[in-house]
Amino acid sequence: MHSVECRNTFFLLFLLRNAKLLLSLQVIDHYENPRNVGSLPKSDPNVGTGVVGAPACGDVMKLQILVNEETGEIQEVKFKTFGCGSAIASSSFATEKIKGMKVWDAKGVKNTDIAKELSLPPVKLHCSMLAEDAIKSAVKDWETKRAARLGGKAAPLPGQPKDEVHV
């Protein structure tokens, strides 16, 4: 399917093809005006990159977070999703949701939260799952990089739950 750039003609086609789906205004909004599209430098030690795929439909999603290493706060989020409108909307929504969150809280964002707030139809629930996976994947990547960088000296960040500290 299409990247977020080719909106207009695809949007019309999308509506026609998916007339049966009741698209919520939120999905349309996130599809028409996706937030936080783009990339962050993978090599930055404070950037966590998650790339996930939906095997049932072939959609792919990349989500990146820039985490403040002193506070654990997610300062910047970027995403790129190729696939159906609901996948694009889910990832756009997910980036908005986790921006400003502590990285350990972002890990807890559930696909059901995303699906509920976007009023995704049952057939598109897997798109929200994709977004949840992408968040977890990006957080894990950041944690892995941090642990590798600090070795056994990864002290907890202010407010971080003790069992979340990775050494």
Partner: protein, 193 residues
């Protein structure tokens, strides 16, 4: 060779560890038998499939059944719909592979995002999508199309080999990969110059 018949050396009833949570294939698989195939196999001749479909359509299409009473016409309508569905499913390698997996109790879902794919593989797929966005000439596009067709051909080759061998783990992995290439193919079809 019939796909996973109970007497085959690759039957799941004889090698359960090889096949994981697979149920034995019912040899009377519906989409195959309606088209007159005695076995559910991945290798199918497209011309033969089309011929079978058209011949059968002539027999069951509702338009040809005006002389039947209502009950029989409804029945014929259901037959025709089912026949259409069978043909559409079997004519495409991806849907055919998914159907064969389904007959073996295997379904591809969200949890299978890593089946046959590493994070590096997924990154590579993202790169290909981005390359399509950046394509600026017909010749660039042709290269991307050709490369994708090669990937598709490779998976079809794998599937034609592993399904008769009864290796459903490999079949599932190849089917997952084929789905990704298929999505790319649809995207490439929409690029115009």
């Amino acid at each position: 060779m019939p796909l996973l018949s109970p007497n085959s050396p690759n039957s799941p009833t004889q090698k359960p560890s090889h096949c994981g949570a697979i149920q034995p294939v019912h040899p009377q698989s519906s989409f195959f038998t309606i088209l007159g195939f005695s076995d559910a196999t991945f290798a199918i001749d497209q011309k033969d499939l089309k011929l079978r479909f058209h011949n059968l359509q002539k027999q069951v299409h509702p338009d040809k059944q005006a002389h039947l009473d209502e009950k029989e016409r409804i029945y014929s309508d259901k037959q025709s719909t089912f026949l259409n569905k069978a043909y559409q499913t079997l004519r495409s390698p991806l849907s055919r592979a998914k159907y064969l997996l389904h007959l073996n109790g295997i379904h591809i879902d969200e949890g299978d995002s890593k089946t046959g794919m590493s994070p590096t593989d997924l990154m590579r797929i993202m790169d290909i999508w981005e390359a399509i966005e950046e394509v600026s000439s017909k010749s660039d596009l042709d290269v991307l199309v050709r490369e994708n067709e090669e990937r598709i051909a490779k998976e079809i080759e794998i599937l034609a080999k592993v399904f008769p061998e009864g290796d459903l783990v490999k079949a599932k992995e190849a089917t997952v990969r084929l789905q990704y290439w298929n999505s790319l193919k649809q995207r490439l079809n929409d690029v115009e110059f």
